[in-house]
């Protein structure tokens, strides 16, 4: 069936869009945006159709008992024979959902950045590059290709923030890129270690995961891979790039970065670090849970004191990413499934948050929460969406946040060790502080008396409504009907969990 | 046949070389430094001849090598001095410390 090509088409389409924009005139903004709207809209439809056929394929499938991820729409071409590097592309439950998430967020991102005027062509080309990298990472099962796409995803960030950003953009761009590249340097080391350590001279993930690496090897290289990916998902000591980076990034970029790129970290840990080095994972995680717990409990408190909306959202991402890592660190089936769901839910949630903040900033030209007030009267659509995004953030049932968080908490509690139990209790009680800072921000901004200078603000226009509605559909879709997502993830988390269990009791 | 041994000559040459090196590093006048370089070259030639004399299977070519080195040293010194003279005409000084345009 042609779907393996369709799968590869997903990351090729953005590049085509970028190529097409080269031929457009410099000042013809509308054409650039139309091209991108069409391309990313097509990509979204493509992703949805792939998802539908994926669900059809896995309908009523028996729970996976093996330890190898079953790939759908798989395609394996030799790429660099000398080093035995393959273009090995395939999709399981998690990758499929992450691709759908990326498609939704970039589609919304394109419409959210409809107002970009200066150098629109270059902005969209870099955005396409970023998205192509992200798509590639989610679907490639060859470590080298995965790392290549990972780098392609990380590097345009510098230009995007440095040129189109606001505030201390050079400093933030430099800081963000340097820390992420430091992380990927660690990754490079880890990947090469796997390639040579396994004496199999292969980058294929499924093959590497079956190779019994010696315990000492795993004990050494797991933290390297973990922190390599962890830097991108803002693990405690290395999270400081995220607030600065997001605060100065333009709307679409911070949507994409917080929404999807930070999930690459969690996805990488799940797909590479835990899948290939299970003993290392089970040995290191009881220690790594402490910075993760700090991540979860620490974010809200700092967000509480922030004035800038983007900083608040950035620190909330730090806390939510901490939950993702918590789900992974507890090594229980429900925990890992919960962290996968949290990746998706947080992607939608932060994407929506940053989109709305961009739109509100476009109108009030200030992101300081204290200066704003009573905006609900002037822009009810944006106000209601912001409140909905906030409630999804603090885990209100009926929205995606709750489903993911409760799965993580239930999964985390299944791990009997006292340290993990303590961290779980702290994480559960931190939903209160999350509620506090979200409500403070929402109330300061939306409710209360309306300052006269905001008297003439307009509500969302059609492209902004479209962007927000797409993400709201995602939030409600996952929140009200989580069943199908949970089943899809079962298929992809089971082999990984069996692999982990095999490691604990060989 | 004199009673001194090869090592004595080698030590002597080393001493010469060391003094030349000291002079090179401590002098500030460029021509002074060239003199010291000349001295170090001479020490090297002494070594060559000493080895040719004491050890080598083909003593003549050893000595000849030393001669060639003397010839080339001459050419090189000529060019060096020419450059120095030109430099002096431009900058009115030959102090090594002042001529430091090459600094990073």
């Amino acid at each position: 069936m042609s779907s393996p090509l369709l799968l590869s088409a997903i990351w090729v389409v953005p590049l085509l869009a970028a190529f097409a924009t080269l031929f457009l005139k410099r000042d013809d903004h509308l054409a650039v945006k139309l091209v991108h709207a069409v391309c990313h809209g097509g990509n979204l439809l493509l992703a949805i159709s792939l998802l539908v056929s994926f669900l059809a394929e896995t309908e009523g499938a028996l729970p996976a008992s093996g330890t190898v991820t079953q790939l759908h729409f798989a395609m394996d071409r030799i790429w660099i024979p000398a080093l035995n590097i393959h273009y090995n592309v395939g999709v399981d439950g998690l990758s499929m959902l992450m691709i759908l998430l990326t498609a939704m967020i970039i589609f919304a991102g394109v419409f959210a950045s409809w107002g970009i005027r200066d150098r629109a062509r270059e902005f969209f080309i870099l955005l396409d590059l970023l998205v192509a990298g992200v798509y590639g990472t989610f679907m490639s099962f060859d470590l080298f290709a995965l790392f290549l796409f990972y780098e392609v995803a990380v590097l345009p960030m510098y230009l995007l923030i440095g040129v189109w950003g606001t505030g201390r953009k050079e400093y933030s761009a430099m800081k963000l890129t340097l820390m992420l590249v430091a992380g990927s340097a660690l990754l490079m080391g880890g990947i090469l270690a796997l390639y040579f350590g396994s004496h199999l001279q292969t980058f294929d993930l499924n093959v590497l995961s079956q190779y019994p690496f010696p315990r000492s090897f795993q004990r050494l290289f797991f933290p390297i891979l973990f922190f390599g990916f962890g830097v991108l998902s803002a693990i405690f000591p290395f999270h400081t790039w995220s607030p600065d980076g997001h605060a100065s990034a333009p709307t679409a970029v911070s949507m994409l970065h917080a929404g999807v790129l930070m999930k690459l970290g969690g996805y990488g840990i799940l797909r590479v670090a835990m899948y290939v080095l299970p003993e290392g994972a089970t040995e290191w995680f009881p220690w790594l849970i402490l910075p993760i717990a700090v991540n979860v409990a620490y974010g809200p408190f700092v967000a509480l004191r922030q004035r800038d909306l983007k900083y608040i959202t950035a620190y909330s991402s730090v806390s939510h990413l901490g939950l993702v890592l918590l789900g992974l660190a507890v090594c229980t089936f429900t925990g890992i499934k919960g962290s996968a769901m949290q990746m998706i839910s947080h992607g939608l949630l932060t994407g929506l948050f940053f989109a709305l903040i961009g739109m509100i900033y476009g109108r009030t030209h200030t992101r300081n929460v204290d200066e704003m007030g009573g905006l609900m009267k002037r822009m009810p659509f944006l106000g209601v969406s912001f409140v909905l995004a906030g409630f999804a953030g603090l885990g209100l049932p009926g929205l995606s946040g709750f489903v993911a968080e409760s799965t993580i908490f239930l999964g985390a509690f299944e791990n009997p060790s006292a340290v993990v139990r303590g961290c779980t209790v702290v994480a559960i009680l931190s939903i209160v502080t999350t509620a506090v800072y979200i409500l403070r921000a929402a109330n300061r901004m939306l409710h209360g008396p309306l300052p006269e200078r905001f008297g003439t603000l307009t509500d969302a226009v059609w492209n902004e409504r479209l962007a927000v509605i797409v993400l709201l559909i995602g939030l409600f879709g996952m929140g009200l009907f989580p069943g199908w997502i949970a089943d899809a993830l079962d298929g992809s988390v089971a082999p990984l969990f069996n692999n982990l269990v095999r490691a604990v009791v060989p | 046949m004199t009673g001194f041994s090869l090592s004595a000559v080698l030590v002597l040459a080393a001493l010469l070389f060391a003094v030349g090196l000291y002079g090179l590093l401590s002098r500030r006048n460029l021509i002074g430094m060239l003199l010291c370089v000349e001295l170090m070259l001479n020490a090297a030639n002494v070594n060559l001849v000493a080895f040719a004399r004491f050890e080598s299977g083909d003593p003549a070519s050893g000595a000849l090598l030393s001669v060639f080195s003397i010839a080339i040293a001459g050419a090189e010194m000529a060019v060096a001095l020419a450059i120095l003279v030109a430099m002096h005409r431009r900058r009115r000084t030959l102090d090594a410390d002042e001529l430091n345009e090459l600094q990073g």
Binding site: - | L16, L35, A71, L81
Partner: protein, 181 residues
């Protein structure tokens, strides 16, 4: 070591000359002491039975290079100009480096003692003029004729180079010339 008096005298002269070159503040005195050192070296070559070398040494080095050096000194140093004085720290560092070098080489030489003493006796007239001349000019496989011709080419190039570099620029006063001076 049974110190041979002649060798010691020659060595002492050489060292004295060297020290003079290195230490004299006035560059002219340094050049002259270098002359002494080169003559002592020539005598050493004679002791080592390398007559041709001795001759070459005295003619090229002393006759050629040093005379040229003295000319250069006289051309570049203006009368009454104070001699350049280098700082104490710098001299100390130089002493340190050269001392370390001396220590290293002496270390190596004394180490290899038993090897050198073995093969000391070579025939007397090894580098007589006839031998060296035959070696220099014979095109046979052992000969150095090719090297000799190259040496001559090199010297010619150096000669032309020196003239090109050191000649005074043409007196016609074109603007950029003025500006450059």
């Amino acid at each position: 070591m049974n110190a041979d008096p002649v060798f010691l005298a020659v060595a002492a002269a050489m060292v004295a000359g060297a020290l003079g070159t290195a230490l004299c503040k006035n560059v002219l005195h340094a050049a002259l002491s270098l002359v002494l050192c080169f003559f002592a070296t020539a005598i050493l070559y004679l002791l080592l039975h390398a007559e041709f070398n001795a001759l070459a040494q005295t003619m090229v080095y002393v006759g050629g290079i040093l005379v040229f050096m003295v000319f250069a000194i006289l051309m570049t140093s203006r009368l009454g100009e104070k001699d350049l004085e280098s700082g104490a720290g710098r001299r100390a560092a130089a002493l340190l480096v050269s001392g370390a070098f001396l220590f290293a080489v002496v270390q190596a030489v004394s180490g290899a003692e038993e090897l050198l003493s073995l093969r000391k006796a070579a025939n007397e007239g090894f580098a007589s003029f006839g031998d060296v001349g035959r070696l220099l000019l014979s095109p046979a496989e052992g000969g150095q004729l090719v090297a000799f011709e190259l040496a001559t080419a090199l010297l010619l190039a150096a000669l032309v180079g020196v003239v090109a570099v050191a000649r005074r620029p043409a007196p016609k006063s074109d603007p950029e010339e003025e500006e450059r001076r």
